[in-house]
């Protein structure tokens, strides 16, 4: 039993090819779902419209504020002679499927190696970090979500600048997905509401928003560091389009 799991579970050439065969067999059936969109009630659409209008107002205000901050940042960068901050080169993709199992958290997107997508590339949307690419075929890719326990992200607290490792909480019974940031300095003054971003170490570029701190407590087992609960910025249930950072 163990040898089976080790043999097929490891990313060997054989298990990889076998997986790709099944992905290619199953994807046409997954795409069939596009022809049966879920009908939404008028009431829920009206509610969603109201939410989006409100969000739009807030975003307009933020754009004005950030525009001024951006110009100030540019002036300061020029003064300090810093290298110009380059934005990510991304490929837009549509979510065509979720995870078929209850115990892992992933999504399937309609971009693959033909579009420049490779494994271990960061995936995000306008709200923040979504995860990283896991298995890529010619036309599709599977994205491991930030809320999966196997997705580890090198993270940084925005205000205190304390580093740590963010990952999903085990596949438990939950109404809203959570993440946990571990190995944070025990003496750090972490407050609820503080932002968490990627640190730039590993596969994720620096500065992608992960979420906000909802609770911080000393690690119960060792007491050597803090465990910080993060509320992800992305609503994973509603993700429809994503951006894959290809460069």
């Amino acid at each position: 039993m163990v040898s089976w799991v080790i043999f097929l579970g490891q990313p060997t050439a054989f298990s990889g090819k076998l997986r790709m065969v099944f992905v290619q067999l199953g994807t046409p059936f997954v795409k069939l779902g596009d022809y049966f969109p879920f009908v939404q009630s008028r009431r829920s659409l009206a509610k969603r419209n109201q939410e989006l209008t409100h969000e739009n107002d807030i975003l307009r205000q933020q754009i004005q504020t950030l525009g001024e901050t951006g110009r100030e940042n540019l002036r300061l960068q020029q003064l300090l002679g810093l290298k110009e901050h380059t934005s990510f080169h991304t490929v837009a993709a549509r979510v065509i499927g979720r995870d078929a199992s209850n115990w892992w958290k992933s999504i399937q997107i309609d971009r693959g190696s033909e579009d420049g997508v490779r494994t271990n590339m960061a995936v995000l949307n306008t709200d923040g970090l979504i995860g990283k690419t896991l298995a890529v075929t010619r036309g599709e890719a599977r994205v491991l979500l930030l809320t999966d326990p196997n997705c580890k992200v090198s993270a940084l607290l925005q205000d205190t600048r304390e580093p740590g490792v963010a990952s999903g909480v085990e596949a438990a019974f939950s109404f809203s997905p959570r993440c946990l940031m571990t190995y944070v300095n025990r003496d750090a003054k972490v407050k609820a509401g503080e932002g968490v971003i990627t640190s730039g170490l590993g596969v994720f570029p620096k500065g992608i928003f992960i979420g906000v701190v909802s609770r911080a407590q000393l690690n119960k087992q060792t007491g050597m560091y803090q465990d910080i609960e993060i509320k992800p910025a992305v609503d994973f249930r509603r993700v429809e389009e994503v951006l894959v950072v290809v460069e």
């Binding site: 799991v5 097929l8 067999l25 499927g97 199992s101 115990w103 326990p149 085990e170 019974f173």
Partner: protein
Amino acid sequence: MTTLIAIAGILIAAALQERMPTLWWLGSVRLEFLPALIVYVSLTMHRGRALALALVAGMAQDALSAAPFGISALAYGIAAVLITGLREVLDRDLPWVQLGSGALTSVGAALMAFFVVGISFGALFKMCVVGFLTGTLTVMLFFALDYSRMVWGNA
């Protein structure tokens, strides 16, 4: 021909399982159709064919998931072997036998997953909820497929 139809059915069930939204009001639980199908083929077909279909179902599920490839195939394969072995004892027409077999197959797959993702009280509770839902789906699937076979005959 029956095997090809069964494979197509498995691929459709895997795709449906992947496309269906989770029941967020029930703790983001996802309905599982494949364990129900495996119980059906195990209580209907020969052992060899049932085992092959269970392996195909497990691999189809793993391919459409972030799971280590083969872990669900192993769980479903073991379930198929056990159920076909107990077929003399199990009366396939009894709803509680169908419910129990479906629930236990789902629980077996969950226990296999816990080797990788770890275990907690929340995960155990979710496993029970998923097991019960899968058991209920199994009963409904038996009714639907047996009725279809009765109407259209054994292909």
